[in-house]
């Protein structure tokens, strides 16, 4: 390898109470796809923000092509040929594609010329895109293309990608990888942040692993097993959830002909869903975000009501019951959005425990709250699910994402549900906490509950679910046994091709 493109030397950044990066050093070569691995909170985001000029390091230095490099703002970084595709897309929904791209450029050409260049570049790299479409109407994969093309128009030397595949279907991931390989062959270096190890093994030339803000090792991903990398990331041995063989019981939840109109302009309506879940079964529902996952959860939790016959619990119609009535009957749910939907951010954990637990845990008597019992319930959740917090009096907002997720899931599981519906149970949760949450759901099913797990993490669904179905534009594919499915078949189900038809992307 020739001289490196970007050289990081002893970068350190501390925030009040936490050291995000401690003395991190590594090199990125020209035309290299370099993976940055680490759990949530390992300091990956802070590190790339320093490279991109959004955050200033407390100490340490960077060399770009051997010249000292200290960007004061993203503009300076872009001028030096460093571009970044963000994890949470930095796009403007109400503006069109061309306007969004113009905003990310220093000296954008006239709109007409820009639109032409967008078409050219998008054709060259196999990422078709209409410059005049409103970004709010695009799918997640298309939105990502906007970001990538915005970067490519500036001929970057280093492209930073922060968790780019978390919102894509397997086919879209393949297209993305083709694009990235093409870029690499043209000499562009790519810093690829992810915690999906198989992807990194397929794509990256070199990997740096961060743990608690420190560089704990480097490796060649193609020559290292995913398990070894995971253990390097976590620092300890990793437990994989165990599925105990369990007998399936009677049908617990029976959904037939369920249709619900889209609740909002950007929502998705559910169209003629059929589904049964038996006692002791885990049903996985996959699909790209925005294809009706939130609506499915809302219909099952009772937030959105449907025809009463459309949803039946043990043969009794419950479609027209609200959330509290369903909780009384044992249908519990944990929505995707932790802060604001599953938990009230500024209320204490005790209060949050009371919010969903009051019915089944008898935390209310004649309209008065039983504080002592509620606090005991919250403490039990914290204890049983290893929620790291000083105590139940802390606000939900003060917990890290993974800890709050453990609390939210634990709160439902401890109420002994007969049917549990969860959406994205391990989104943004680090590997060990995710394993604990999955194990808890499997244990619950082993005790005879029916579990519906809606998720975009296919590995997770393959790991825990007995049967798998995919949501596509509000339609649900016929559930199939997970054991007999391949990733390719799942990708086709997610893309809406329900038979042997090949998806044209």
């Amino acid at each position: 390898m020739t001289a490196p493109l970007l050289c990081l030397q002893g970068l350190t950044k501390a925030y009040p109470g936490v050291i995000a990066n401690n003395n991190v050093s590594f090199d990125i070569g020209k035309g290299q796809v370099h993976a940055l691995l680490g759990e949530n909170g390992a300091g990956k985001s802070t590190l790339v923000k320093m490279i991109y000029g959004l955050v200033k390091p407390d100490s340490g230095s960077m060399l770009l092509n051997g010249v000292p490099y200290a960007p004061s703002e993203p503009r300076a970084a872009r001028a030096d040929g460093i571009a970044m595709v963000f994890q949470h897309f930095s796009l403007f929904d109400a503006l069109n594609v061309a306007e969004n791209i113009a905003l990310g450029m220093e000296n954008p050409p006239k709109m007409g010329d820009l639109a032409k260049r967008i078409r050219d570049v998008s054709e060259t790299y196999g990422l078709p895109l209409d410059p005049y479409r409103r970004v709010g109407d695009l799918s997640a994969g298309e939105r990502q293309r906007v970001e990538i093309i915005r970067c490519l128009l500036q001929d970057p030397r280093l492209l930073i990608m922060d968790e780019p595949t978390s919102v894509l279907t397997p086919q879209e991931v393949n297209i993305l990888f083709e694009t990235l390989r093409k870029l690499r062959s043209e000499g562009t270096a790519i810093l690829y942040i992810s915690h999906k190890l198989e992807e990194i093994r397929a794509l990256c030339d070199h990997a740096t692993v961060l743990r608690l803000g420190e560089n704990v090792g480097e490796c060649i991903p193609a020559e290292t097993s995913a398990r070894d990398m995971a253990e390097l990331m976590v620092g300890t041995g990793l437990k994989t959830p165990e599925r105990s063989g369990r007998a399936l019981g009677d049908v617990a939840l029976d959904i037939s002909g369920l249709s619900v109109p889209a609740p909002s302009e950007f929502g998705t309506g559910l169209k003629n869903l059929h589904l049964t879940v038996r006692k002791g079964e885990v049903l996985g529902v996959g699909g790209v975000a925005g294809n009706g996952q939130d609506e499915l959860l809302a219909v099952l939790s009772g937030e959105v009501r449907s025809a009463s016959d459309a949803v039946k619990l043990h043969g009794k119609p419950i479609g027209n019951l609200g959330p509290t009535d369903r909780r009384r009957l044992g249908v519990l749910s944990a929505p995707e959005e932790r802060l604001g939907h599953a938990a009230a951010p500024d209320m204490s954990l005790t209060e949050n425990a009371m919010l969903t637990g009051s019915v089944r845990e008898n935390l209310v008597r004649r309209g008065f709250l039983k504080w002592r019992q509620a606090q005991a319930f919250a403490e039990r959740i914290i204890e049983d699910f290893d929620v790291r917090t000083p105590g139940p009096g802390n606000a939900a907002r003060s917990l890290s994402g993974g800890n709050l997720q453990k609390f939210v899931i634990g709160r439902e599981i401890l109420q002994r549900p007969e049917v549990l519906v969860v959406n994205q149970p391990t989104w943004g949760v680090d590997a060990s906490a995710a394993a604990a949450i999955r194990q808890a759901m499997l244990d619950l099913a082993a005790d005879g509950a029916a579990v519906i797990c809606i998720s975009q993490d296919l590995d997770e669904l393959m790991e825990i679910s007995d049967r798998f179905a995919a949501l596509n534009e509000g339609r649900l594919s016929t559930p199939q046994d997970t054991a007999e499915l391949t990733i390719e078949e799942i990708g086709l189900m997610m893309g809406g091709a329900h038979g042997m038809e090949v998806a044209h992307v």
Partner: protein, 306 residues
């Protein structure tokens, strides 16, 4: 009842005058809201503009200097809002309401000396040839400069928001301040400029009331026009030309109902007096049934560390 006493030419000419204060305040607020800031202090900035403009033009004898002072006064009051919401990150709704209350009190104090005085007249410009055209001439071409400035501001705001990079950045900041920040735009600076512009426009609108429309100073003389301007921005779906339309509609019905009252129409005065509010809101509600919606970051507090 004598409907014949209503002269349609004069009616239309005076509706433009009646609409201008609302138009100025609303177009300023439109820019502020497009940048993602909800400033409910329009009424306060208007009345402070009204009294500053009145005082300076009485002292100097120049209506022009009065209007300049009004714009400066409105902008100065809006710096208080900037300090509260952009620097101290206070809640925008509460800060805006406080700004209105403060402005009403401050203007009463500032204007004590000026009650009952007549300001120097703001001359109408008579554009040669054009103003001699029958009907259209008196309607369109015999007004004071500020009225035309108001229309010019609407056109300029429309063109800048639609065609220029500055406008694109402003809309981007209002749409998603986090994304704009991630791209390296100075969210707070852009918002401060927008708020100052909104303050200046509101000040001009206020002075138009005290110097042209009702040439005198009385306490609380803006009488809710700022609130109408705020509502107008929302019902006009944040579109400059619809703000113009709404302002003229409101001004027109206000003038018409005054004329009807004078003509002695047998409708109770109270109904006539409420008609401009009802009809303007009704029309704009019907118009706003399209896809456009509020800037997504409207009223949200921006903090760079997140």
């Amino acid at each position: 009842m004598d409907l014949g006493s209503i002269n349609p030419v004069l009616l239309i000419a005076s509706l433009m005058v009646a609409a201008t204060p609302i138009l100025l305040a609303a177009i300023g607020e439109l820019v502020v809201e497009k940048a993602g800031v909800l400033n409910l202090g329009v009424e306060g900035m208007m009345i402070v503009g009204a009294v500053s403009g009145f005082a300076i033009s009485v002292e100097t004898g120049s209506p022009f200097l009065g209007f300049v002072a009004a714009a400066v006064g409105g902008a100065l009051l809006s710096t208080l809002f900037i300090l509260l919401t952009q620097v101290a990150l206070a809640n925008q709704v509460a800060s805006g309401l406080a700004l209105t209350l403060f402005g009403l009190g401050l203007s009463a104090l500032m204007g004590q000396k000026y009650v009952g005085i007549k300001p120097p007249p703001t001359g109408d410009i008579h554009i040669p040839l054009l103003s001699d055209v029958p009907v259209l001439g008196p309607i369109l071409f015999t007004h004071d400069v500020v009225l035309y400035v108001g229309i010019a501001i609407v056109a300029a705001v429309w063109a800048i928001l639609k065609f220029t990079r500055a406008g694109l950045i402003l809309r981007a900041v209002g749409e998603s301040h986090d994304a704009a920040h991630a791209l390296g735009y100075k969210v707070v600076r852009i918002r401060i400029l927008a708020i100052l512009f909104g303050g200046a426009c509101a000040g001009l609108g206020g002075a138009y009331i005290s110097l042209v429309r009702v040439p005198q100073w009385t306490e609380g003389m803006t009488a809710g026009v700022g609130w109408i301007a705020l509502a107008l921005v929302v019902f006009a779906s944040w579109k400059p030309w619809r703000v113009l339309l709404g302002a003229y509609l409101f001004g027109g019905i206000t003038v018409l109902q005054l004329n009807l009252q004078a003509a002695g129409v047998a409708i109770p005065v109270e109904y006539l007096a409420m008609s401009p509010y009802l009809i303007t809101i009704l029309v704009l509600v019907i118009l706003s049934k399209d896809k456009s919606s509020a800037p997504a970051s409207l009223g949200r507090i921006f903090h760079a560390s997140r």
